[in-house]
């Protein structure tokens, strides 16, 4: 007896697509797990990544179970048991992510584990209402939380990122929405409605493609950068030095850790020296962009008159974006000062000229 799908010659193809969807979600979870494991090897554990990984893995197993139950198991005790297991697995997926987010970002969410507790409450109710009309209300609530959690956090994450990372993360939002919408179209109640419509097979097939498209967007949005490192890119920054190319001297220096670091005058001279030397024996006109010292890196951004050097622990797209922005804004605001730097010596001390940079940096990195 087929509970799930309308009678169609494509029935097995629909089932095939369901398994592809579950495999795809599992892959996303495994990719997050791999990232978490790689970082854990370096003694830097990130609970959020682990949460996302467990969310996708449990969600996919829950989907496998529900697809299997709907397609191959007859109504009865076995069906009820497997159905409850699938709901639990999906609910657990939501709980793990909610717990990870509420625990790690207590100051941002201020929910005091409310979402996690809500999910536990809803899950505890499921075994007792399997034959009740409330079941679908509870299921819809769980599914809503399942979708809202990653979307909500990704929106927060988008607001705190820049450039390429922001663009990539924005892509995941329609991805999550398509995934949710596509899966909603495969629920028995919606399938009953679709069955009564013309072109029902085409509609179901379209819903599968929409779901897969959603997952491609999610996968693309979360890949190509280190989710773990980008969530804490500000913490990796050590110091920043703005170097006047012409005079080969430092015009601005900031240490983000509040430490007395490298001598900024020697540093500025050294960086411009390295630029000159390296240029002499390489054929390309490109500028040096990174000097890797193992535990530290110097990332360089080149303007017309200045070089901005950031000493950091990791070479991250967010940090490179900030550097480019700083270079552009510094030259925009202080072009004249750079041009007639010496003449300002009598009016202001040179270090005071560039004081407004503090605010600019603060706004950019929200430090």
């Amino acid at each position: 007896m087929d509970l799930y799908y309308i009678d169609s010659p494509l029935k097995n193809v629909f089932i095939g697509f369901d398994y592809i969807i579950a495999i795809f979600i599992l892959q996303i979870g495994l990719l997050f797990m791999r990232k978490w494991y790689k970082e854990a090897e370096k003694q830097s554990k990130n609970f959020i990544i682990l949460g996302f990984s467990a969310y996708f893995i449990l969600f996919s197993i829950g989907l496998f179970v529900v697809f299997f139950t709907m397609n191959y198991v007859l109504p009865g005790q076995e069906f009820n048991l497997l159905f409850t297991v699938s709901v639990f697995l999906r609910g657990l997926a939501g709980f793990v992510l909610a717990f990870a987010l509420e625990r790690t970002h207590q100051t941002i969410f201020r929910t005091r584990y409310f979402i996690s507790l809500c999910l536990i409450g809803l899950l505890a109710a499921v075994p007792f209402i399997l034959d009740s009309p409330f079941l679908y209300t509870i299921l819809n609530m769980i599914n809503f939380i399942l979708l809202a959690l990653p979307v909500g956090f990704t929106v927060y994450f988008i607001m705190n990122n820049f450039g390429v990372i922001r663009q990539k993360l924005i892509i995941t939002i329609p991805g999550f929405l398509l995934l949710g919408f596509g899966l909603y179209l495969t629920t028995p109640r919606i399938l009953d409605i679709i069955e009564a419509m013309a072109f029902s097979s085409q509609l179901i097939l379209s819903s599968k493609f929409l779901t897969i498209l959603g997952m491609v967007l999610i996968l693309d949005g979360f890949s190509g950068f280190s989710f773990f490192l980008e969530t804490q890119w500000q913490e990796n920054m050590i110091s920043l030095c703005i170097i006047d190319k012409t005079r080969m001297k430092s015009v601005y220096y900031k240490n983000f850790k509040g430490e007395t670091g490298e001598s900024n005058e020697i540093f500025a001279g050294g960086i411009t020296g390295i630029e000159t030397v390296i240029k002499q024996f390489t054929s390309s006109n490109e500028e040096i962009d990174v000097i890797n010292l193992g535990s530290k890196l110097i990332i360089l951004s080149h303007g017309e008159k200045i070089i901005v050097a950031l000493v950091t622990k990791k070479n991250l797209p967010n940090a490179r974006h900030i550097l480019k922005e700083l270079t552009r804004k510094f030259e925009f605001f202080f072009w004249d000062y750079l041009k007639y730097y010496e003449s300002y010596n009598s009016i202001l001390t040179q270090s005071e000229i560039f004081k407004p940079m503090e605010m600019l940096i603060r706004n950019l990195i929200k430090a």
Partner: protein, 357 residues
């Protein structure tokens, strides 16, 4: 005798299973094409990605044809079979043409020519001797498998020294994939007496794909496979900045070894002192030029390369280690005669195992 369309209960199992296989093949293929295009955009040499994209892509297309012919359009099954074979064949032509076009010698397109002949035979057989089409396909598959295994052996050989475990896993995955594919044929179903062998074959293919995906992903970069072509210069200097040896791997303007050695060592010393850091300089990146540094007890090794690959860092370390070991007695009391270090050329050749390009 094998009957089509595939009947229950195997139909319910095989369609979803083979759709999952198609998905995995096409997914891996898209991943490689994406990597290929990305590398091309960044002007990085990227040969292997395109080859692998083609292989996985054509297997995915062939499986789609088989699913259609065996389950939904059985009246026209031979058409779908020939489409699948042709997909594999054209993929083989593209793949081997690309691989063989990179070889320097004459008469290099042997496999490409072979696949062209097979394609011609397929078309003739389909129109004039359709009853032996599958027999011809099986023979052609044997040739294709042999070609693929040789290719993968060459690839695995290149990374064997550095990624032994990954190489074994990768090769095992490929063997599983090809064995599973053999289990999918009508011949296997007839010999083993049922579609259960096709289910098993599909499962074996999926395991093979998981192994391939897992181990390919674990190798830091596929770019590592073409590491030899990414070396521009090898430089060895003393810690005081005196050049000991310079080797030019590409046809470019020769370096002034005294200037380069002195300058790069100066940079290294400067960075160490100014950054208040015990760390040593590892890489200087300047667009497509990367300077890799490795500091031994008394010598600094520098590689000028196009990409800072893990393999190259490992080889540089090996070069410095072996150089210091070989010249340990000379380095202690060295008086400034760099002629003594001329045999380093052989050490460099043995470590980097490359011919100048």
């Amino acid at each position: 005798m094998v009957g089509y369309p595939i009947a229950s209960p195997y139909r319910e199992i095989l369609i979803p299973l083979e759709m999952a296989i198609v998905f995995v093949f096409l997914e891996i293929s898209s991943y490689f094409f994406y990597r290929y295009l990305k590398n091309k955009r960044n002007k990085m040499p990227s040969v292997v990605e395109l080859d692998w994209g083609i292989i996985f892509g054509v297997f995915g297309i062939a499986f789609i044809s088989y699913i259609m012919g065996d389950n939904f359009f059985t009246n026209n099954r031979p058409v779908y079979l020939i489409l699948g074979y042709m997909a594999l064949n054209i993929g083989g032509i593209l793949f081997f043409y690309h691989v063989e076009s990179l070889k320097p010698q004459k008469h290099k397109f042997k496999f490409t020519l072979l696949f062209l002949i097979v394609l011609f035979i397929f078309i003739i057989t389909y129109f004039f001797f359709p009853s032996i089409l599958q027999l011809v396909a099986s023979t052609a598959s044997f040739l294709a498998y042999s070609g693929l295994i040789i290719y993968f052996l060459v690839i695995v050989k290149r990374i064997w020294a550095f990624y032994r475990l990954y190489s074994i896993g990768l090769f095992l995955g490929i063997i599983f994939w090809l064995v599973g594919y053999a289990g999918n044929t009508d011949a296997a179903i007839t010999i083993f007496g049922g579609f259960y062998i096709r289910v098993l074959g599909d499962v074996v293919i999926l395991i093979g794909m998981i192994l391939v995906a897992l181990f390919l992903n674990s190798i830091p970069s596929l770019g590592e496979l073409g590491w030899q072509k990414k070396i521009k210069n090898v430089i060895l200097t003393t810690k005081g900045g005196v050049g000991l040896f310079v080797e030019n791997f590409q046809d470019r303007q020769p370096l002034d070894e005294v200037l380069v050695a002195g300058a790069l060592t100066g940079i290294s010393i400067f960075i160490k002192s100014v950054m208040n850091s015990n760390g040593k300089i590892h890489v200087i990146s300047k667009g497509n030029d990367k300077f890799l540094f490795y500091e031994g007890k008394s010598v600094i090794g520098i590689l000028l390369v196009e990409q800072d690959l893990e393999i190259l860092k490992y080889l540089l370390k090996e070069l410095v280690r072996q150089f210091e070991e070989f010249y340990s007695t000379i380095l202690d009391k060295w008086t400034g005669n760099i002629e003594l270090f001329k045999p380093t050329k052989y050490l460099v050749d043995s470590i980097f195992s490359v011919q100048k390009i």
